[in-house]
Amino acid sequence: MSATPDGSGTPIDPGGGPGPAQTIVAGGVPDLRLAGLAVATWLTALAGLHLGAATVLIAAVLAAVFSAVGALHLVGLLGRPGRWARRHGWIAVAVALGVVCGGTVGAARLAVRDADALRSLAEQRASITAELVVRDDPRPIRGNPGRPATLLVTTELVTLTESDGRRLGAPVQVLVLAAHPAWRGLLPGQRLTAEGRLGVPRGGDLTAAVLSASGPPVRRGAPSWAQRAAGSLRAGLQRACAPLPDARGGLLPGLVVGDTSRLLPTVEEDFRATGMTHLNAVSGANVPWG
């Protein structure tokens, strides 16, 4: 599709004056102008999860200073840019801007995650009453034989009340470990109150605290109609699969909508051994295309 530039009749402007139609990089190579920024943003955010808010904020500030000085240098206000600077300078500035973006956003989220008020409670393993909003389907993890299976529920904290009545509100992610069967079948968006003991999370993600729930959740209101509709569809699928033999009946919802709640441990182990867990990890796209 790209005719020879010379034969097109459009004069090539060697002077480099910016024009209206110059967004297209020459054909044949991908447009990677945003790649430096994107990779830097992503890597900085990832590093922040493991290095903490302070480190990543310092990195962002340094990068901001670097990009400002670099830009001034490149436009000629700070010395004469050398050959390397002319050739790669704007790329370096774009990468530094990516570090600024990833660093500040990461630091903001990590600062909320690591706020002292909640972190000290988690370190004390304080017993609290928390008001939470479910953010994901509860998923079972394999428990020790003889003990009830533990459910993992990703929730967002609204407020928590300490044993002496102090209340604390923070929009952070809390992972609930629950053994009570009433936690099963909660829908995302459900608001609830739960009692339990806080714990320190493993780190590496945005989970601010782990709540070991001591009893059943007390539901407050209902989830949104969209979540209820999705939930009823999933429940219908489970009902439809109920007459099937265990292995197949547990697998089908997993393949279709990623619902692995009834998947047999042996089948799950088979999937893991063959490296095909992605098939029942995500979405129904597996079946229509499969």
């Binding site: 090539i12 630091a107 952070v172």
Partner: protein, 321 residues
């Protein structure tokens, strides 16, 4: 060929490393006339000064075809290094046979620094985005800092919030009030800073009268708010178990069965005597008391490691603060 070479030279002059050979992609599914595609291709030659508003340009007529070109390009560009040999299958890329020196052409077509270069205007746009991001992140972090709400029952006391950090000690004023009685110069209430020791309390009450030995009261013990410290008076045995007995249990008086054990003053032996509490757990309770400056409620006992709900239910009637 000659066009290609020309463009290469021109491209190097203009510090743009990538310039398409004519007809680079043959598998164009959409009707993109050469006339439509050409302005886009030629425009790219211009010195890396890239416009910062690609979306606006997509809507314009001539670059529309080129936009499709750009969407398709990554796939073909990824393939290129593998097809560096002259025997690369024709038909995938139509002009491939016309390029001599396969490895050289592959190297020439790998995205060089020019493809990554956003240029001055591009960086200006990115900088604007970065400023927005920083402002939004700061606003979000400020808005979602932890909010501590005051405890309703405490008389008008608000828990101080400093930069989203809740004061770990619940006492609204960082001050303890203890009563010092017995053989001191000025018995009565004394005010002490948090973390004060029993010796400080006695000192604040004017000091012990001559001849009174304070050592038995354990002068190093931290005092808790609202405590009664009795100096130089051996409490009658019946009162030994009472919650305000101060350091009296150290004098060897065993708690009377049935009387609740004060968590803030109890010794290791007192706690050990409680049902279901062994020496290890008793030590943990003492450690918790030391760390947190005393128990403010019986419910805090649940925060001690090793005290679960069942044991707490069992203990809560037997202890007090």
């Amino acid at each position: 060929m000659s066009h290609d070479d020309e463009t290469v030279v021109r491209r190097r002059l203009l510090r743009l490393t990538a310039q398409p050979p004519p007809g680079s992609v043959s598998a164009e599914p959409l009707p993109a006339s050469p006339a439509a595609a050409t302005p886009g291709a030629s425009a790219a030659l211009v010195s890396g000064e890239l416009s910062a508003e690609p979306v606006a340009d997509v809507g314009a007529d001539p670059p529309a075809g080129s936009h499709v070109d750009r969407l398709l390009r990554p796939a073909s560009a990824d393939r290129r290094p593998l097809e560096s040999g002259p025997t690369s299958p024709a038909g995938v890329v139509a002009d491939e046979p016309s390029v001599p020196g396969g490895s050289e052409s592959a190297a020439r077509r790998l995205p060089g620094p020019g493809a990554f270069d956003p240029g001055r205007r591009g960086v200006r746009a990115l900088a604007a985005v970065a400023v927005l991001v920083v402002v939004a992140a700061g606003f979000w972090a400020w808005r979602s800092r932890p909010q501590a709400e005051p405890v309703p029952p405490v008389a008008g006391a608000t828990v101080p919030v400093t930069d989203g950090v809740v004061e770990p000690v619940a006492s609204p004023s960082a001050e303890l009030v203890v009563a010092v009685a017995g053989k001191v110069r000025r018995p009565g209430l004394v005010r002490l800073p948090v973390g004060a020791r029993l010796a400080d309390a006695v000192q604040a009450a004017g000091g012990a009268l001559p001849g009174v030995d304070v050592a038995l009261l354990n002068p190093a013990r931290k005092v808790a708010d609202g405590e009664l410290i009795v100096v130089g008076v051996t409490p009658p045995p019946a009162a030994a178990g009472q919650p305000v007995a101060g350091g009296a249990p150290a004098a060897g008086a065993a708690p009377v069965a049935g009387a609740p054990v004060n968590l803030n003053t109890a010794t290791l032996a007192d706690l050990d005597a409680l049902p279901g509490v062994g020496p290890v757990l008793a030590q943990r309770i003492l450690a918790h008391r030391e760390q947190h400056g005393g128990f403010k409620s019986v419910g805090e006992l649940r925060q001690v490691d090793g005290i679960g709900d069942a044991r707490y239910e069992q203990l809560k009637e037997l202890v007090t603060v």
